[in-house]
Symmetry: D3
Subunit: 141 residues, 6 copies
């Protein structure tokens, strides 16, 4: 079984702040990530796909097809944006890395079967590196 | 299911040498890592935690809490130290990366339930990068 | 002659937009860096210092002293901030990497002689890595 | 349970081209990787091994033994070579990263039991980093 | 004075071999880089530009303009190519990193004044990272 | 003019402590680097050489010759060693990065003319990366 991991990058800003907390609770929970005007990161997004090896092409997945999906559904909407204001889903949930992963997973899953028909190609996991010190992974299975 | 990996660093020195081997056996087994006065590395320690996503905070684990645990129980005792002489556990076992992982795991596990009460937060694995060429991982499950 | 380069990091967001340009000119010049709500980066700041080698300590500069200067005058004010709104100087100039370097240089120079008295310690250059692909350097001499 | 991952490097060139496809199909499928004279990469190969911890040596695997196996069976034959012409197996299959992993796995498996007798040492997975953006992993179990 | 360094990448293959040497001399001089079918690298090319800071835009150089120049004159012709066969200049000189730098410098210089009219923008140096271990720099002044 | 930078690595340990300071002064000056049993780093050493380009070989320096010099005079004596005890020169001066550079420079210079006869090959600078955050450079001219 072979897994292919493809790496993407986007530069974005966010602010961690929940309307369900008081000012003091937000500050205590999120620290400087709660600063009022937001701040930014160079996010690294890794998409991990598995599937049967095509014996002729010698490939598990057509990487260009995956690139187009991730670019059109994720990178284009996130790159050089302020996620709190510019990405629809983050008007409802706080743009923590955990929630970013959930949004990315939902967006990819919604198109997956039409982009990779036949059911053999599987989205295994998504990793988001917020900084060198923080990496988050969502496993779909 | 979401996993959070947090990265720490410490600079330390060690010598690989077992009293249960002869000088020749030590040299044959450990090579230049057996040199008499020790040598050092910039270790990278990654702690991987999983747990349920808190729907309000959007987080799996409070990273500051994890940082305090790892700093007080591991980094503070290992950083800028000669592990053979300065870390109690290595007076009994050789400070190979494998044994360092076991010591780190035991130290974190001893405090885990009081630091993360409720049982939802799980220590999944610990990785130690000795050098770029050598990475060791201890999985707890 | 020995030079010491010390590396710092800060995560910040910015928007490239000049009031002296029209909307169209801003968009043409700055591209997606002109997006209205800003975006962010993990900036790497390198401060390069030279000076005579102290024959007893074996050091060119006291790194802790340099760290305190850079932390108090730069990192503390820039880290986890939206530079356009949160850093005073960027209410007058666009926070391009070039201008960030000039602001950092002015802030360090203003304190330099009181922090490093005697004139032997010299601020050689400041480098700012906006992303892996873009590095900017200001040489003071 | 402890896993040891050891990293190797080799610089090699390849061309993605299958005799079973037409010129147009090759170009459509492999893009610029189908360019007629090949191109190259600095490949990173990671070999991941697990096994019981030897209580005296404090080690899971003798790294020198692993190095000799990987050097003699893989790196020596791949490094500074044009894989299509110089590595026997790629006269039959296209040297995609997926197929390189399969060749590496077959070569290591053929020697494994004589190099690591007793059955306790297990080849868990092999990872190949073609570029920063593309990582492939073959899991043996 | 501010310098801007912009990073590009291309994957290419080459063979070090001079017709002016015997087979034995080629092998002695170039070692495994002389292997008959070539081998490859992921080259990193850094282009370093200086110039006056535009007080309104806050920029030293229009990075998009630089990107177009380097893409059209260098990356497009080198990426995913076998330099010995595919890049005209290397039919006369050996594609060592030193000679690659000279070819890149000549190609950029030929277009420089029409792309950056006025004479204020200066090509300071070009760096080529062949591997992590080997970096080459050509300074134009 | 072309410069070649070649990168080497060695893992070593050291303790910063001067007999000319009191215990308190040592602790105040060197902080945790003064811990009594030493600590270690994975040092990166970069040697930067310039010279005329040989028109036939297309090279500025024979890298194998440089490697043999640096290996025999530096890496072999420093790698996997405790510099305070194992490297002769550090029985007289404190093994700070600045002093390590001076020792390396003296060792290379002593052999330079016999290894690179003719005077065309010049040792431009030596850089030592102690950690990611600290880089030291000695320029010979």
């Amino acid at each position: 079984m072979i897994r292919v991991t493809r790496r993407y990058r986007f530069a974005a800003s966010h602010r961690l702040h929940s309307e369900q907390f008081s000012e003091g609770e937000n500050r205590a929970l999120y620290g400087k990530c709660n600063n009022p005007h937001g701040h930014g990161h160079d996010y690294v997004l890794e998409v991990c796909v598995s599937g049967p090896l095509d014996p002729v092409s010698g490939q598990v997945v057509n990487v260009s097809t995956l690139d187009q999906l991730v670019a059109s559904r994720v990178v284009q909407d996130f790159d050089h944006k302020y996620m709190n204001a510019d990405v629809r889903e983050f008007q409802e949930v706080v743009p923590t890395s955990e929630n970013i992963l959930r949004v990315v997973e939902k967006r990819l899953a919604a198109q997956w079967n039409s982009v990779f028909p036949g059911g053999g190609t599987h989205l295994e996991s998504i990793r988001l590196r917020e900084t060198r010190r923080n990496v988050f992974e969502l496993r779909t299975s």
